[in-house]
Symmetry: C2
Subunit: 351 residues, 2 copies
Amino acid sequence: MTLNHHENSKICSGIAFGHAKKSFANRSGTNGEPILDIDGAFANIVRIGNQNVGITSDGIGTKIEIAERAGIYNTLGFDLVAMVADDLAAMGIEPTNITNILDVDVMCPKTIDQLMSGLATASKLAGIAITGGEIAELGNRIGGFGNGMHFNWCSTAIGVAGEKIISGKDIVPGDTIITLAEDGFRSNGFTLARNALERCYGKNWHTEKFTETQSWSEVLLTPSKIYCPLVNSLKRENIEIHGASHITGGGVPANLGRILKPNNLGAELNNLFSPPRPMQAIARMTDVSDRDAYTHWNMGNGFLLVTPSTSIDAILGKAATLGYRAQVAGTVTHGPVNIRIGKTIYENPGK
Amino acid sequence: MTLNHHENSKICSGIAFGHAKKSFANRSGTNGEPILDIDGAFANIVRIGNQNVGITSDGIGTKIEIAERAGIYNTLGFDLVAMVADDLAAMGIEPTNITNILDVDVMCPKTIDQLMSGLATASKLAGIAITGGEIAELGNRIGGFGNGMHFNWCSTAIGVAGEKIISGKDIVPGDTIITLAEDGFRSNGFTLARNALERCYGKNWHTEKFTETQSWSEVLLTPSKIYCPLVNSLKRENIEIHGASHITGGGVPANLGRILKPNNLGAELNNLFSPPRPMQAIARMTDVSDRDAYTHWNMGNGFLLVTPSTSIDAILGKAATLGYRAQVAGTVTHGPVNIRIGKTIYENPGK
């Protein structure tokens, strides 16, 4: 992954956003009017009648190749739900519904059953209803690994935003940053991981053992944790949250940086969760520096909450009750928007 | 396309719907509760606060290959908007917002600019705001024709359902069926069309001339008409509509049949618009029977409105004002659910 590649990706997103932004006027002053500038936000919120409705779309990218290599298809639904439901949760929106589009080369009922079964289980955990779906058979427009059904999978979630949106604008220096643990890669950073594993083990790296009982593909397939039930619960109990960050592409620096930017604040993180063992192992076996790793992978931290100190006990308590590992990771500092993780400083991270 | 293929597709949709249906209980009695059984409906509607919000997802399938063959990328946005916005319109839902996911092999800024430019123009025509988007670079998981950027494109639309949903339950024998003209294929039936053209002209069929000024790929790329502005307008003026049908996969028989089924009614259609010349030409050059053509292609009729006779003049007048070709196509009859088009009877069509 080169700088040019990253720049090209930024240019393309910018082009898409430019055209989208013009369209906001199409609903000006009426139902569907966007109430946020979506550039850099996790989701958008539109007003329908007297309701603020959040909406976001995303897919699970090349994590699907890991499922194809492992021959396991009932965990990807967790990743699909996590990507969109937790993007809504990061803005304090309670996800209510998901629709999904599955593009396949040829339809395999057995694989589809496993995918949809996982989606149903994950949706139950997230407390959302699957209220739309489409399976499109696209032949050679879809490729992948091995001989099974190949596919790409994406989804849209909507939710109830309520009046109080978590935008990061309430964050002040001295606020506490709480981290929620993640054991896997979620749906990000697989290109880097796959390249490293292939260099180390060759083309069939997925069959190599990571532990005695788990292959590398199985461990990389670890389903995403879904954090929205905790955020929903904190919101329902009116526990004050100043900011929330879903750690996806760009890692902790980019995603935390995004919500610190509006108030020009920084952060010191001395107590993040350690990266899960597979991430550590991949970083060790190849030339991925610690700095690079933190900007590509979640490194064991899937979601951050920024809160006044008065909320800490309530949040840690609720997290424990609901079965999430959570701990205080650090503090918000005065600007500029630099994020220090251990001894490394990330200057003005994010897009 | 064989019966087995169609059966397999039905089985897979059924599996997906089975899992989705279970998830409805996750929102029972609260925000996001689905108020429709989505099996066979164009979209679903969920209640958020005191609002009924419609939601639907779809993509534009292999029409993208036509754009790749023609090297023209600024019309597909019309197809993408049409697929979802008109699915909402068919239930009397006013589309308000669209999100889109573009899966690409590698990002080409110029092609993405053309795609998004078309999406913006189509969204303006449909009166909707683009409030979400994602471009995912998926390498060899995406394939297509030629050397340009390959991609698959799908979207989700939401809209305001209001209290009065068009479900087809108000349809009675004697109701009038009005058809709205379509000049192209919309996003359906391209497999059949491409196979026919390849058999006739060989692999590079797309460069062959259809007329002196248009190649076959250009004519097949004709952008979808977008009907929701007309339906929105009719709803705003309280013009009575008993049923509406967006003519997508399965053609007139399947899509009209779907809304006739709840009341076990049939239809006689003696005055549909004629198929556009390219469809007629493709049907002539290969072994596509009239019967098959009507179950794969829209045959010149993109949207049907079922109305009491008292609404006819108002609908035809409003259509003319807004620039849609519309005419009375036929009449609703007593059951069983048979649809007669000219001399051909389609018995119990649809899924």
